[in-house]
Symmetry: C2
């Protein structure tokens, strides 16, 4: 009996010693976690709000947002207006704000209409950043997306290189949207500044529609006998332009430069109907939006104590996610996996 | 005795149960640490390379670099050419590359001269980003700094607001440096585009020197009877312009807009000799440079497997760290702590 008691006593002492060690190791781990490393909690929810939320274009943006969330151990939610309706997006954004998330990344259907809701969020202490489509006069802390003027410059230089740099050229665009105006302006000014042998003869409204863009292209082909190339600033129109060029038997003779990497556009690059397309840094838009929101939520920002009072931006106010020229040489990389 | 045995038995079971829970919690913590959170090792060394490495301007940039390193649990080193010499910076950069650091943030004294060394680093697998002063044709992955053209636009609008928007205006600049050319261009084009009653009459070379800038200002004051304001694109010259305005007894009558937040400039804002200065996002330059280098080193980038082959930028290629207009209203926030 006494031996058993002694054995029990030794066992208890051993367990206590082990607990003591385990406790210290535990404390050490907690210490490191607090001291260094960017890591949030799964109860922190960051929300992405956009419009036409079902289209393929957003998939890679959301993937970037989700990848950053996984890296930082936080949660995300994807919300958006399902239609192309400004009031619908305002309502969705206000519903999201009411649930007080850790941060909101917004792509604005309209550069003005969301400003009041964004101001409400920021004044309630909810960080807001814009991605892909900016609301430049809003209270959002930053814009993360393509420099659309520079994308137009890139398209113009690519057009010059692929078309031989002379002849007549047209643009098919969406003239009421800021992004498309900027792409058109970058293209137009670059042609005027750098390529005296290229003549811009037509800027047409494709209405973001495949069939309208196809018809406008056929009109342009019949109207300008020396037409050497067309730049389409928008994805749906690109396929329409490609169809028109194919119908007219001009593939390979007319240089077509599109925008974005829809499957239809990529297929036409492979078949030679479309010469190139301008791919946006969509994954980066999502990833760096969440990274900035995380920094704002955790106050890992410009250390000036009263940056609000000093009118200093706590995070970089513009992140240019860049573009890539996609041709037959690198098109295979751009198909969705 | 039996009671004591029972008590020991209960105690042992309790301890075992506690150990079981502690063990699982411990495993859980380790699991999370490996799975999520941005955290490096202290053996990862990121190096900042610049020129005129001793001047006050860099202090806040380095602070941002160090703050990010502390957050991410990595090490940093500050190296730079002590003089304003291009060859000295090339040698420093090559020495840094030879030690194979985890990443290098470079501010280029000259937009071309470092290109070969940068290419060597990137080809050896060492990530390089540019900050503050870009080398746009180099192989560096990105540029993190001020949009100097936009800074000039901001200065022009501030000049219009503070001077009444009419009269003759001059610029004192450093005409051989890209940053200063861009600030001058942004100012000039904004005046021409937006303010028809403002006339730009002189653009002078202050040679980055206080006394030269002072003399150029005195010449401008005596040469233009309707002079309403001067924009100085560079910090050392700002104090010289302020001295000239004070000597001519024109403080408060001539609007002076400077650049950067040297103590001398801030003091002149407080005393009313200088009207405003354009502060750059220096802390953000350092912080987000390290953040990008960490992502490149850990391959937390654009997930396209062969982004090199596809010619896609793995991180955003430009981060605009923004500017703040500093006037007597917010000047107190900008003194170094």
């Amino acid at each position: 009996m006494k031996k058993l008691l002694l054995l029990y006593f030794i066992l208890i002492m051993t367990l206590l010693a082990y607990l003591y060690v385990a406790h210290f190791r535990g404390n050490d781990t907690m210490y490191n976690e607090q001291e260094a490393g960017l890591r949030g909690g799964l109860d922190e929810k960051y929300v992405m709000v956009n419009f036409l939320s079902g289209i393929d274009y957003w998939k890679n943006v959301l993937k970037g947002f989700e990848d950053a969330a996984e890296t930082l151990n936080v949660s995300v939610e994807y919300r958006g207006a399902t239609q192309y309706g400004a009031q619908e997006e305002v309502i969705v954004l206000e519903q999201v704000i009411a649930r007080k998330p850790a941060g909101i990344a917004v792509s604005a259907i309209d550069s003005e209409v969301l400003n009041d809701a964004i101001q409400k969020a920021v004044e309630a202490g909810i960080p807001v950043v814009m991605f892909d489509a900016d609301a430049p006069d809003s209270k959002a802390y930053s814009f993360i997306g393509t420099n659309n003027y520079e994308a137009g410059v890139t398209a113009a230089r690519q057009m010059a290189a692929m078309s031989g740099g002379k002849g007549q050229f047209g643009i098919i665009t969406h003239p009421n949207q800021l992004n498309h105006q900027q792409r058109t302006k970058g293209f137009k000014e670059t042609i005027e500044r750098e390529f005296p042998d290229m003549e811009l003869v037509a800027i047409e409204d494709g209405k973001g529609d495949q069939l309208v863009s196809e018809q406008k292209t056929l009109d342009m082909i019949s109207g300008y006998s020396n037409l050497s190339g067309i730049f389409v600033t928008e994805a749906s129109g690109g396929v329409g332009v490609g169809n028109a060029v194919y119908a007219a038997g001009l593939q390979g003779k007319l240089t077509v430069i599109c925008f974005d990497t829809d499957k239809g556009t990529l297929d036409m690059i492979k078949s030679g109907t479309v010469s190139a397309t301008i791919a946006q840094g969509t994954w980066s838009m999502g990833y760096w939006s969440l990274m900035q929101l995380f920094h704002l939520n955790h106050q890992l920002v410009e250390p000036m104590p009263d940056w609000r009072g000093a009118n200093v931006s706590p995070v970089p106010n513009y992140v240019d996610t860049g573009v890539t020229v996609v041709t037959v040489d690198n098109v295979d990389h751009f198909y969705a996996k």
